[in-house]
């Protein structure tokens, strides 16, 4: 079974080599989509053995994931996994996501930081930002998952061909969730551990996501 790991990367020279090496050592096909980085991300990913797709201009994480997913599907992927380039996800969790798909128990699997207590989330993120994001997903997409902004997801090739996300930047996570909910696909959540190197998206990021969703719905 061909499992392809898509890693969107923008200025991730610090982590990308280690991430790619670990993913490849676990036996997965690895595709890095370099979103027009200004540093050595693409060269480092290539030297670590990843297939590298280079965006000519910076288009955002959602766009990079779309490029990588479409490329993987055109090149025989049976399961697609979205992974981060910043070394915050654990490679050992990939197996957890793939297992229900390989066993045909689900069509989509989301990694969740909230199913066990292994992820040390900043207080404001856990108690303010995430509950609000959950509420927004419920109102906007009728989506109910424990992790409203999980970027660690896996799906079958059929699902990859079926779902379409138009958001180029960070709102893609909510949009993908909405697409999957709308199509009533079989979803499973599995616990993952995220090791934070940085805070990530705060309140302003959340507002940008809401703004992008609003504009996209109107356009």
């Amino acid at each position: 079974m061909q499992i392809t790991i898509i890693i969107p990367a923008y200025n991730e020279a610090r982590w990308i080599k280690k991430v790619v090496e670990e993913v490849r050592a676990a036996g997965f096909q690895t595709v890095v989509v370099d979103d027009c980085s200004k540093d050595e991300t693409a060269a480092l990913a290539e030297s670590a053995g990843a297939a590298v797709l280079r965006h000519v201009i910076n288009r955002g994480q959602g766009a990079a994931l779309r490029t990588g997913t479409n490329w993987a599907l055109e090149n025989g992927a049976e399961i697609v996994v979205h992974f981060d380039a910043d070394g915050q996800f654990r490679v050992s969790d990939i197996e957890r996501l793939v297992k229900p798909l390989a066993a045909h128990e689900a069509e989509v699997v989301f990694g969740s930081r909230f199913l066990d207590n292994t992820t040390k989330l900043p207080w404001s993120k856990k108690n303010l930002i995430m509950p609000l994001a959950r509420l927004a997903n419920k109102i906007l997409f009728d989506a109910e998952l424990t992790d409203p902004q999980s970027g660690f997801r896996a799906f079958t090739a059929d699902v990859g061909r079926e779902i379409k996300w138009r958001q180029d930047r960070m709102a893609h996570a909510s949009e993908i969730l909405g697409e999957i909910t709308r199509r009533r696909l079989r979803v499973v959540e599995v616990p993952i551990t995220v090791v934070y190197h940085e805070f990530g998206q705060g309140f302003s990021g959340g507002f940008k996501i809401l703004r992008d969703i609003f504009i996209k719905k109107l356009s």
Binding site: V33, A51, L53, R54, H55, V56, I57, R59, A63, R66, T67, N70, W71, E74, R166, D168, I215, K216, L218, S219
Partner: protein, 108 residues
């Protein structure tokens, strides 16, 4: 009266320019009609200001017609900004599609 004459001169100048642009095919027919209606409406507003004041007053407004026109213009401007934002969104989407196609082409 002097102000009205100045306003008419300005409007006639822009109308002339509009026809000149149309003849040079520098603007589309849709744009031409949009601006033609806009400048003709402005001309009517300037020439019949007193009558329009009375009309606006009969509608229940407590401000002169020129002020109502200014409020309407602001509302229209906001709407046009919104339309431009949506158009921009579409352009961004097209740009991303182009970027993806180019990326795959380079990879092959």
């Amino acid at each position: 009266m002097f102000q009205v004459i100045i306003a008419i001169v300005v409007i006639v100048f822009f109308l002339a320019k509009l026809f000149w642009q149309k003849n040079k095919k520098a603007i589309s027919i849709g744009e031409f009609y949009f601006w033609l209606i806009f400048w003709l409406a402005s001309l009517v507003l300037v020439v019949f200001l007193k009558q329009l004041d009375a009309f606006v007053s009969s509608l229940g407004f407590s401000v002169p017609a020129i002020q109502v026109a200014a409020y309407l213009a602001i509302a229209v401007l906001f709407y046009l900004i919104f339309r431009v934002r949506l158009k921009l969104e579409k352009t961004q989407e097209d740009l991303t599609k182009l970027n993806e196609a180019l990326t795959k082409l380079v990879k092959k």
